[in-house]
Point group: C2
Chain length 521, copies 2
């Protein structure tokens, strides 16, 4: 099997993404995750332009890595300075990483306009820098910036740049579509040309997604002879981002028969989601392979076909990448999907039973109000139980009142909540302070209920999301609150919708607790 | 120039997207937008499986369209039924559209497993259905479902299917990568083969994005001879979605020299954003061409280079698609970006002035707390004015109190707010009810201030967004509120961060009003 090595630049190029801001600890955590998954190189920072990166590399060097080589990133030496005089080069050396990636100009226009360097000056800058780091025993990846644009503008200039890197010992020459504007047929023709001219060159590919082709461009480059790919997890990066490794890696392994150090591709989803969590970004539902909708079937015909033979509308088995198949609810999907989800509740539920029809009706009404049950299956189950008369509420709300004051009366918590709930024949009135009204209400409710249900002590909320539904109504808009709860073993999701964020949160909170207590007398 | 026709399936295949649910009015509005933009065909529904679609087509037929042909979608007749007996076929006819798209099986496995049809039965179903709709004078697009998968599995079967459609008069034969698992080199080889075998065939391409290659696959198909493309705006659709027309269209026009009815490509952003608004989805910031970050520069070196020559890190001019260049703030970007944004406030602000350094410090502190000023430039300007001592507050908050009660004391509004503000030497105390605590506080503040600043009457909030920053802290998490305000002419954005959603909203509200009053004595 043909091999390919993988460089993840989430911590370098990915950090240029608009929403991204990594702490030192974030970077160390992501490094550990990428190493465990089996990424060959982690390009983790630019010591020359960011002094914090030196601290990172110092700490990172103490982490025992089993798959990954740490890589620091920097430019060729500056024009008119020797290697020794260039403090940026010295900072890069100081990072003391086993691998170094050096970016140099492969476009005549860029060399002229950005560096004010002639062709010969540019070639000398590349040659000196590559030679220097090879003399220090580094693995050296040369990133030929704007290579494809440069090739179409002046191919001699572009080819001379990569030739200089190769001759001076670069281990990998990575061809970059820095502006992300190139398309697959262009990439194929240029990589073919480079492979013919430099048969001994280990070719890499680094694509940006400004034409929506970064993954495809990387794929065709590999098919044309590249054996090193660069990208970022989830495609984070400046502008439209980099080639998304969470899509590119399974494509190369599952569709193009490439092998690499990643031997547990079923860890892909977990890896990508952990990185997303640390990066504080949401994995888009429709992201190939790893998205929550990537194997979700909504159309009735598609669902029927998928029930007939599983691969009907799936390009790969979802388990191969650690994802799973889902059947969605919607007017189109119809009853068989719903039945698959809630059929276990009661034998009365069959495809044509009036009970199922009644649930569908209720579902439609709530969806019209802004509810979505795809991400709140615990609320769906409660809804079905309520319609079926199988739900005995474990508590009833009599009243609540939340107060939020500025300045905080006690100098600390601005919010307080009072709640009155009934359990069986008893009434409990409790109160709590909080750092916000929802937090105060959440605490007050738990205080009230734990008297009756001590098992609630083990439960905590693990996620809280707010979506404003009709943003143009501004502060009068409806909001949907999604809550994820865990008891350490199981996790469940509930939903609430209201124009009042406190009420929406209450509804999701109440469902979360009711769901946990199903079966408790 | 080579021509290409465009079919938008946002209202049909796009409606299969997990988050999508269109009302009748939504569909009519999207149709109007697509027609104005210059899309050739709008595939707007499946009359056979969704009775509501017949109502849509009846209303849509009354809209005068200047570019678009309405298209209804359905399957080939069912096995063992004549055209006349098949009520689905009759429903499709009843939709009374000038164009019809008919999906038929091009994969032997699917014909066997899903339809239980032999090769001959399948061919007869295709032939009969195409012939029938052609006899009714329709433009006919034949969608060869699973064509690429079918071709690799049994090419004779797949080719016989499209041959049957062609021979019976299909105007366009659209090759579908239904499962979205194919890659560019496969598409190139198969489309080349089809073009050689059927030189008179008008080839279309319909790709899904399960391998992240839908746009690239559509592009290479066009370069190999396809002259009709199908997709959805923003790539909405089942699982990972369809080829994103908002990326594919500019790629074909700007990069591959194709022409179509779209003559105002600079309307692309507005078109895509309107459709997103109606679909109630967010345009991802990093979406090529149309995303808010698509031409946003964050890295300091990139910004410097882009200031030197504009196309340094841009594959096209942002104005060509109605987007614009942005320079982002971040530790990496440095002072020149900040100066470009706020330099107009004071001549004291220069790249090396202590005033600018003080603003950078303040900015870093707030970013650490969770603020982001990229999307809140009005708050950034106020921050700078405060640091420079140029901001004279137009009001001061003495106290506020919001109360949220269930059940609502008056049976309607659950929330009320009291506020005490000082303006000059005067104190104003007002109160308001609201459908949520933030709404009530917003109203109370406006009531208090309009006594002093009648111009606030013209102002209204146009957008309100909430992001939970550290979701794992659940109801104790920090939230960031972004508010967009408009006075009918100008629009500005402000931000607030707190663990208390009411305080976060207050901070953004207060900035919004202060910004409007800059310059008012």
């Amino acid at each position: 099997m043909k091999k390919v090595s993988i460089l993840d630049s989430t911590l370098r190029d990915g950090a240029q993404g608009e929403q991204i801001s990594f702490s030192l600890q974030d970077k160390l955590n992501i490094l550990r995750i990428l190493d465990a998954f089996g990424v060959d190189y982690v390009e983790a920072g630019t010591p020359a332009s960011n002094p914090k990166d030196l601290e990172f590399f110092s700490l990172a060097s103490k982490i025992p890595l089993k798959n990954t080589l740490l890589c620091a990133f920097g430019s060729t030496r500056r024009k008119g300075r020797s290697i020794e005089q260039d403090e940026y080069i010295q900072a890069l050396l100081e990072a003391d990483t086993p691998a170094v990636s050096i970016v140099g100009k492969a476009s005549e226009t860029h060399a002229q306009h950005v560096l004010q360097a002639t062709r010969d000056e540019n070639l000398a800058m590349i040659a000196d820098t590559v030679r220097f780091f090879k003399s220090k025993g580094k693995q050296l990846i040369f990133d030929a910036e704007h290579f494809f644009d440069g090739f179409f503008e002046n191919s001699d200039f572009a080819l001379a740049s990569i030739s200089a890197a190769l001759e001076n010992g670069a281990d990998i020459v990575c061809l970059c579509d820095t502006n992300g504007g190139r398309t697959p047929t262009e990439i194929i023709s240029v990589v073919n040309k480079v492979r013919e001219l430099f048969p001994s060159m280990r070719i890499g590919i680094h694509c940006h997604d400004d034409s929506g082709c970064a993954v495809a461009n990387s794929m065709v480059a590999v098919e044309a002879g590249a054996s090193h790919v660069q990208g970022t997890f989830l495609g984070c990066g400046e502008r439209c981002g980099n080639a998304d490794l969470s899509v590119l890696i399974p494509n190369l392994i599952l569709k193009k028969g490439r092998s690499c150090k990643i031997t547990h591709l079923e860890q892909l989803c977990a890896t990508a989601r952990s990185i997303a969590e640390i990066s504080n970004i949401t994995v888009p539902g429709n992201r190939p392979y790893i998205g929550n909708s990537a194997f979700a079937h909504k159309g009735g015909m598609h669902i029927d076909a998928t029930l007939k033979f599983r691969q009907a509308f799936e390009h790969i088995a979802p388990t191969a990448v650690g994802n799973h198949r889902r059947f969605l609810l919607s007017e189109m999907a119809g009853r068989s999907t719903l039945l698959e989800k809630i059929g276990h509740i009661s034998p009365k539920l069959t495809k044509d039973s009036p009970e199922l029809a009644a649930i569908v009706e209720q579902l439609k009404e709530l969806e019209f109000e802004g509810y979505q049950f795809e991400a709140a299956e615990a609320s769906l189950e409660l809804l079905a139980r309520r319609v079926l008369g199988l739900h005995k509420p474990h508590f009833t709300l009599v009243q609540y009142k939340t107060i939020d004051e500025y300045p905080a009366p006690n100098g600390k918590e601005q919010a307080s909540a009072m709640i009155e709930v009934g359990v069986g024949g008893r009434i409990e009135v409790t109160a709590a302070l909080g750092n916000g009204p929802v937090n105060a209400l959440d605490q007050a409710l738990r205080n009230a209920l734990k008297v009756f249900y001590p098992q609630l002590d083990k439960v905590h909320l693990t996620d809280y999301k707010v979506r404003v539904l009709n943003t143009e109504s501004a502060t009068a808009a409806k909001v949907r609150v999604l809550i994820e709860t865990s008891d350490g073993k199981m996790t469940w999701n509930t939903v609430g919708v209201s124009t009042d964020i406190i009420e929406a949160s209450w509804l999701a909170l109440a469902d979360s607790i009711e769901y946990q207590l199903i079966g408790v007398e």
